[in-house]
Symmetry: C2
Subunit: 338 residues, 2 copies
DNA sequence: CCCCAGTATGACATCGATGTCGCCGTTGCC
DNA sequence: GGCAACGGCGACATCGATGTCATACTGGGG
């Protein structure tokens, strides 16, 4: 049936204009509610548009208006990780208020993939690009930044490039975790961290170590475990730590995944070490887990805000926003050394 | 500095062609690696493109190629809810394999907003539209479905419209939860559900009620609580239920939020009722919470698959995929009535 | 009564790419 | 030696909208 074929094609503005008996330009004016259109003409055009099921072609409009879309790109890790999804949620909310839409892509923690995703976004002429980078080197973005596409880095500082960033006070949070445990009387404190090459992890390690040094404590040193990258590995690592003689009396885990692993390892232990985890998580209150908390949604919101200011024409040097952290004591971090 | 101004405009293919000393069309051929371009010409064009920092304008390309983008839209609830983010993650992974990008927007559980987001997506000429609907009536989408934009409904069936859908076996899962508790010897079983008007909730209620009827049990009836919509409300509701005389000996909560609320309410109780929750959640194993689990990521993956098949030209009647559920016993659902 | 301002409209160029078609110069084959 | 086939390339139209400029008509002021 040819009628079907006709049906799958969307009507163009030209067709609407023809049906309404006006010129293309007048139809455009009517639908955009520009001034200087006779009321009756306007109505006729809109009726024609409705009856045809016309919908503006945003691609064509954007090409004409300057080859830049109303999209903002986010390249991050898997949204299944609650940290990333909280950030994405904050971004989306903020963008929506300005009529911008969010495109997301998962870099699978792969620098190569990240680069090609950034490329894909740039080809689609996103208005801004938000990145929670996995790659270490961001110099390849330098040219772009100067070409009118604002970049904002989230959670990790840009490397080899001046760009806006929203970071967490990693060192501060980790220092306060260390101090909290020291204040509880702990000395043999284990540190379980993720990949050391990632800046936030490095910051957290440094902050913790700083607290230890400041207190003149070096009993933690045998218990340092870095480059632990997933829940299973964290669980295994914590089990191994607890089997040491003497075992640590407290553990500090530097992100939500590692904290989860530690909790699993502690499940069947008789004597529980103290535990403080970086990143708050759902139901931590029920599990009584003491954490270094921060507002992940705010990270996204602030990043989107910075991006929007750049889109709106703000120029000036790169800015960095640091999101503060706070310790939420729920019991696990307050267990005393035995 | 005028050099700056020049810098913010992206070079066009015409400029690349001029620099390489060839025609626009030849430059296009070279960059797209079409046949019939002399190797030396190709190299010259690519060098020119690199030196100018040229990047293809996807908007223009898509306009020319048929006014349809390489984007797929997802309208859902807040990504901060792990159910939605798991679904989004599944979708994005699947789409990426086909070179498609995901645009997300949060409907804030508001039918009006949802409609305008769908509009915005359609204007941007998404290739397909995935919806976890909040609105009840989807007839307004009927015209669109016939215009070549495939729709896939997730978690909730389309209403007044034939479209592909990926659903959870809500009734089946809830029935097995009911049967599980009955088998444990429970009779006074409370049902705490979210908004009854939402199809998944209705399905879960019906499944549970069906199990009760089949067993000839009506002792649950005084403990039915529907239209509980957030964590706080769920916590309060469960507290009230437990204060009844006699109290229920078991509770079935019909989604992850309500389960969270119930867990909070149970925290300080002396005698614990059995608890089964619909939706699995992170750390449920540590909390020992028995749940009706399903693979949320698979929902997204399957929906993206259906959409992709339609994009690739598949026609035929609307299909519905039902994701199965299974009970994961972790202790809370196996407590016996006291 | 004329002129000017302002309103309503349309013709045409344009955004940046790709598709169609045709031209020119080599080959290769009969 | 002539001709078909093909490789390499460019001129031009095109996708669907918006911006610019021109034009016709209306009404009001001098």
């Amino acid at each position: 049936m040819p009628a079907d074929d006709a049906n799958v094609r969307r009507p163009t503005l030209t067709e609407v204009a023809a049906l309404a008996g006006v010129s293309l330009k007048t139809a455009s004016r009517a639908l955009n509610r520009e001034p200087n259109v006779a009321p009756s003409t306007g109505r006729r055009v809109r009726d024609a548009a409705d009856s045809l099921g016309y919908r503006l072609n945003g691609i064509a409009r954007e090409l004409r208006r300057g080859a830049t879309s109303s999209l903002v790109g986010l390249v991050s890790g898997d949204l299944a990780n609650p940290f990333y999804s909280a950030v994405a949620s904050g971004i989306e909310r903020e963008l929506r208020q300005h009529g911008l839409l969010l495109i997301t892509a998962n870099n699978d923690e792969d620098g190569e993939l990240e680069r090609s995703l950034v490329d894909a976004f740039l080809e689609r002429r996103v208005r801004a690009l938000l990145v929670i980078p996995s790659a270490d080197d961001h110099e390849y973005l330098a040219i772009e930044g100067n070409r009118g596409v604002p970049f904002v880095f989230l959670d990790r500082p840009p490397d080899g490039l001046a760009a806006d960033a929203v970071l967490i006070d990693n060192a501060g949070g980790a220092r306060s975790a260390g101090e909290h445990l020291l204040a509880g009387g702990h000395r043999r404190i284990a540190l379980v961290s993720d990949l050391r090459r990632m800046a936030p992890q490095k910051g957290r390690i440094d902050g913790f170590v700083g607290a230890m040094r400041a207190a003149g404590n070096d009993a933690w040193e045998p218990y340092l475990r870095t480059d632990v990258h997933d829940v299973r590995h964290a669980e295994r690592t914590v089990r191994e730590l607890l089997a040491l003689d003497p075992p640590p009396t407290a553990i500090f885990t530097t992100n939500n995944r590692l904290t989860t692993g530690a909790l699993r390892a502690l499940r069947d232990q008789e004597t529980l070490p103290a535990l403080v985890g970086f990143d708050d998580f759902d139901l931590a209150d029920l599990l009584g887990t003491t954490v270094v908390a921060h507002d992940s949604t705010a990270i996204g919101r602030e990043a989107a805000r910075l991006a929007y200011e750049r889109i709106s024409g703000h120029t000036g040097p790169a800015r960095t926003i640091v999101i503060s952290t706070s310790i939420i004591a729920r019991g696990s971090g307050e267990r005393s050394p035995h």
